[in-house]
Symmetry: C2
Subunit: 285 residues, 2 copies
């Protein structure tokens, strides 16, 4: 099972890479460094979990690969921008990401800042230029991505993360912070798969509600597993291990994973997404 899902993840990652390479093409050579910086971060790395979620939700609900790709790439562009800005000296000040020097280490802080801005902005261009979905879906997708990635979503979560460096959070606040910082973009990726599959889908459609619940559960589980894998790395920060021991943390993540699968079990072809949830729970990095 793990082999099948690893293979599927790799295949999707290759496909996404090719699409992102097209979307983030090198423009005017007069400022080539900006394109180099953007492409350094958006290409050639990452497990592409979010695009995978979009692709697989789309397939589960009978949609084509082609219609899911723009949605998947838009989410990945936003994810990449958030990593670049998060790594900056004024934020986490990280020198390495996925074994490579961080963007600002290679291109300088100023270009890294702009590369993040460019990725975020272009994500909306990718959504709006999508020829394989309905106008209603495009507008709902822009609404959803801008809401979930913005100050009432992901950016808010990053602010909470900053505040958390000097403040201890109780478990509820920690869960809330994680929901904003990572959960909402994961949820967006899942919902985008539904939009890619069904033209003019209503936001209250049962399939979208299932995608939100699935995304919410695996998003939180993902973060708990992250905290377990990073144990001891950030001792000043509140993590799930501030509130429970490793064994109970893993148990909690397993529960959430189970919940996620239960939500989608009623749909035909739910197996891949259940396998993904289990794979994320049991990953070693």
């Amino acid at each position: 099972m793990t082999n099948r899902i690893s293979q599927k993840l790799n295949d999707t990652a290759e496909l996404i890479e090719r699409e992102l390479d097209r979307y983030f093409f090198v423009g005017d050579k007069k400022y080539q460094i900006l394109f180099d910086s953007v492409r350094y971060s958006v290409l050639g790395g990452g497990k592409r979990i979010r695009p995978f979620l979009t692709m697989e939700f789309c397939k589960m609900f009978g949609g084509s690969e082609q219609s899911a790709l723009p949605y998947a790439c838009a989410v990945e562009a936003v994810h990449t921008y958030s990593l670049i800005h998060d790594d900056l000296p004024c934020m986490d000040n990280d020198d390495f990401r996925r074994g490579k020097p961080t963007n600002h280490k290679v291109y300088g802080e100023n270009t890294a800042l702009l590369a993040g801005d460019a990725l975020l902005t272009h994500a909306f261009n990718i959504l709006a230029e999508n020829k394989y979905t309905s106008a209603k879906n495009i507008i709902n997708a822009v609404k959803m991505l801008s809401a979930n990635a913005g100050m009432y979503g992901m950016v808010g979560g990053q602010q909470l993360d900053l505040i958390g460096e000097t403040t201890k959070y109780d478990l509820d606040t920690l869960k809330y912070q994680q929901k904003l910082k990572t959960g909402k973009l994961i949820i967006t990726a899942c919902v985008f798969g539904c939009m890619a599959a069904v033209d003019d889908i209503e936001l209250k459609d049962e399939r979208i509600i299932s995608a939100v619940k699935y995304g919410e559960n695996i998003g939180l589980a993902f973060q708990i597993v992250d905290d377990i894998l990073d144990v001891g790395e950030e001792e000043h920060k509140t993590t799930f291990l501030t509130h429970m021991d490793i064994e109970n943390a893993h148990k909690y993540a397993a529960q959430l994973t189970n919940e996620a699968c239960k939500v989608i079990v009623k749909y035909k072809n739910n197996e891949i997404l259940c396998e993904l949830a289990a794979y994320l729970l049991n990953r070693k990095n």
Copy 2:
């Protein structure tokens, strides 16, 4: 004439202020500092030239104020984000803007970075949530703003600006840089006015083509006047005064202003926009 246009600018600025106050409401108090930071920059300042352009193009083409406001606020949010990021230490490292300490001086670099990200992201939310325009217009507006503000537009211009700190540009490259950095957002503001006025307007509609030309001309004139007003402030950078003396620079800006007015003279009620162009040419700050 100057009095009339000043009064109109003030009236519009007040209206825009009220709308932005609504759009950028304070969310969860747990991370109040982010909202404070966003609101510090987006409220209470600036001539609101870009929103004014949107409002007046909309009125000239028979549209209502209500339909223009979301378009106008989205452009102003993007403009504000660009100022916050531009002022950061890794960019221009400015301590003051419009007589007030810059955002990062008050809220710290990390929150200022996030406030910029939040403003950019929320601009797309404002466009997509616009209830007073057609779906086709919303999608075209998202396409246009994301293209003109992104790496092939404004962000590209900012990268060229960075490169220009150590490289001398010839006049054509300088004009090109200015077109990307400030021109494209000004053009967007003008075109958004057309969209606000006319549902399902085609991008090749003669009114949009006029708005693009008008915006292009006043955008360049605006930058030349800026360079004249800032003379001596940034001696290491290429400006229009690197390539011509003040008298010729002013003559060139006057020519462009004249061109801008010629483009719209055929439309009824073009007077305000002509007055604005003249006002911008003759401004003293």
